[in-house]
Each structure stands twice: as C-alpha cells, then as structure tokens.
Amino acid sequence: MIKSQYIISILLFFPLLLIQTTIVPLLAIDTVIPDLIIILLVYYSITQGQIYGSILGFTYGFLFDIITGSLLGSAMIAKTMAGFTAGYFSSENKQDQNLVSYNFALIVLLSSLIDSTINAFFSSINFTSNIFLLFFQYALLPAIYTAALALMGMIFYPKRKMF
C-alpha cells in the first residue's frame, strides 16, 4: 500500500508550481528567482531517504518540464540529481537536526546549486564569455536566493514540521 506521505508529496507539487509560475516572478531580483520546488524536494529527501528523493526529483522534473514547456528531460535530470544529493543528509540520527536548524538552508543551497548548474548546461548557452560569471549568475545567485527563502521559513517556523 502506498504511504499517504508519498501521495501528499506529489499533490503538494501542484500548488507550489502554481505559486512558482504566478507569484514568484514578482519576487525576481533582476531575473534571479528562487525555486520553491527544490525546497519541498529537499524536505522530502531528508525525511524519506535518498532513493525516495531521487524518484521524487525525477517526478517533479517530469511534471515541471511537461507543464511549463521546458525541454523535456532537462529538469528531470537536474531535480533527480538534486533529490539524490539532498538524500545524503537523511541519516536518522541527524534528521531532526537537518530539518529545523540552519543546516536545512545549507542543504537547499547545495541541491539548488546542482539543479541550476545542470539546467544551465542544458540551456546550451554560449559559454565563451566568462564561465565563472555565468556560473555565478545562472547557478549561484538563484541557489542563494532559494536558500535564503528556506532560511526565512526556518526562522518563522522554528522546530515545527513543515508539511
């Protein structure tokens, strides 16, 4: 029997994507926007483990690509890798610590960095200019913004289950 938690994690994707595509663009700082889906993915990867994180990332990526009209497969690979990475921090001993402390924001930063780097790679951008500058703009800035948002969540809702 499928755990209700698994279904909830999929269902939560849709309202989050709704916010991501309607409200989040209003929060853009010079085209840099946070990725709310990564925050949800990291949460479930930490709580449910690495395999679940990978599969959930794959599912989120598929739904994101198919709904937003992105190149099908690009977000799938990016989010699968992000979920896999976040799943490394799903150790039972440190799970609570990773969820309610600043560690959560750091894990979001790492996963988001991987996600945006892979997405940038699939965008076939001209890298002849300055690869470090492009990495900074395409990967690091959105990752920091996403992590900052996760951090705000941690500050406003300390020691409380997120979902």
């Binding site: 990978s54 990526g61 965008s123």
Partner: protein, 277 residues
C-alpha cells in the same frame, strides 16, 4: 548468482536507482519533438493553465480589464500601422513603390493574458489563455504595443505556450530598419544578440531593429529593439551586436497573438526549390 545480485542491490541500490532514472531522462530528452510527447504536453499544460488562470484573475482589477484591453488593442494596432508606415517610407525612398508591391491589409489580433511565466535565465516561456478554440496556431507571433514578445510553441484547446525572445531555443531573422541588413537574433542567456554580423554592415548604436521578411516564422516587420552595443570589433571577421528589446518580458501581463502564419504556399515553393538544387 542471485545472492550476488541481491548483495549488489543492497550495497548500491541508491546508485542503481539514480542511474536508471538518469537513463530514462536521457531517453525522454531525445523524444522532445515526438507527437506523443507533444500531445501529453498539450493536455498537461492546458489543464494546469485553466487552474492558473483563475488564480491570476484574482490579481487583476476586473472593472478596468475591458477598458484596458480596448486601449491595448488600439495601441497594438497603431504599433503595427506605424511599423508598416515606417516600412513604406523606406521603400518609397528606394523607389520600390514602382514595383507595385501587394499590400496585406488587415492583421487579425487575438487578445490573451499571460497566466503563468517560466522566466528562467535561458528558457523564457509564457502560458497564454488563448488556444486552438481562439484559432491560435503554432508559429504565430506574440506581440504587445511595444513590439514582439515571442512565438507560439505549443497549443491546447484554450491555452498556449509561447517561447519569449529570452529563450535560447528561439532564433529570429531580423534587420536594421535604417540599413536593411539582415542577421540572426538570439538570446545568449544575458543579452539579445545579432550573431555573425559582417564587419561591413553599417550598424550604429540606437539603430532600430525589426523582424525581417525573410524570416521563416515572422514574415512581417515587427519592432524588436534598439542596437545597444557592437561587440568583437577588433578581432574576427564578424561583429556581435547587442540589442536592447522594446518589451520588458518581466512586466508584460497582457499580449496579442498576431493571427498570421507564414504562407504554406511560400514554404512549399521554397522547399521545392531547395530540393531541386
């Protein structure tokens, strides 16, 4: 043997799952243009957009909506007429009027609101609340009163997805309105650039750039932007020209879809010509 596989699975199951998922993703990556995928995509974003549009409407001031729409329609029509008049002026200067060029008279405009945006740095797409039922077709230009926004990429019954000019996968043939020289415009992730522009081209900062008639997707001059900077001047045989778009893609909320697609007859003639060569 079974014990071996069980042992491998137990030790490396996370990596095995990861590799399988990545292989499936790569397979789907190569299937992007298949009919099946397009159909699934059409149903998925059509369904999602119908929910999004309700959500988006909450942010709109309803009593001003109709009035705004009428004003925007007038603006867009005036922009098209202005663009057309500029063309006529230049054509007259070159005595092309003597050729008695045919005039395409009306430009059907389909009003649409952006219900969601996916404005990543490189893959800008917008979802519009107009689709097959409003006669929207793949390849139709999306415009505002300021100029071109993008091209319709996929359609569902009541919704469509358009690639904006800030999408690395969209390349458009453009020309300088002053010098009549053509080049390919694309988004490099940071700027709209006209690529492989020969150094002999007489482009200057501030020149107005419009879409070119030789474009395979927009057979009509639509405003794109102004020349902002001419790069690679000292090395190489080509210049790269940065273009500042007229349209602010972040702030655009309402658009028009220009109800034209390039004539199939022209496409067929060009295709046959290429086949004969």
């Amino acid at each position: 043997m079974i014990r071996f596989f069980v042992s491998v699975w137990e030790n490396f199951k996370e990596y095995i799952v990861l590799v399988i998922l990545l292989i499936v993703s790569l397979i789907l990556l190569s299937q992007n243009s298949s009919q099946g995928i397009q159909k699934v995509r059409s149903i998925a974003f059509g369904t999602f957009a119908s929910v999004t549009s309700v959500f988006t409407d909450v942010f709109n001031i309803s009593n001003l909506k109709n009035e705004n729409e009428n004003l925007r329609r007038t603006n867009a029509e005036m922009m098209l007429h202005l663009s057309r008049l500029r063309e006529y002026a230049i054509v007259n200067e070159d005595l092309k009027g003597l050729l008695a060029l045919k005039d395409s008279s009306t430009f059907p405009l389909i009003s649409a609101t952006i219900v969601s945006k996916s404005l990543t740095k490189s893959q800008g797409t917008i979802t519009l609340n107009a689709g097959n039922n409003q006669s929207v077709k793949v390849g139709m230009p999306v415009i505002t009163d300021k100029g071109i926004v993008g091209i319709i990429y996929s359609t569902a019954d009541n919704y469509s997805i358009a690639r904006t000019l800030t999408n690395v996968d969209l390349k458009v043939t453009v020309k300088s309105e002053r010098t009549r020289e053509n080049a390919v415009l694309k988004w490099n992730g940071e700027w709209l650039v006209m690529i492989n522009v020969p150094k002999t081209f007489d482009l200057k900062k501030g020149d107005r750039i419009v879409t070119s008639e030789i474009s395979s997707i927009i057979p009509f001059p639509l405003p794109v932007g102004l020349v902002y900077e001419i790069g690679n001047v000292e090395k190489g045989i080509f210049n790269e020209v940065k273009v500042q778009p007229f349209v602010d893609f972040q702030k655009t909320e309402n658009v028009f879809i220009l109800g034209i697609v390039k004539s199939k007859e022209i496409d067929d003639i060009e295709f046959n010509l290429l086949n004969r060569q």
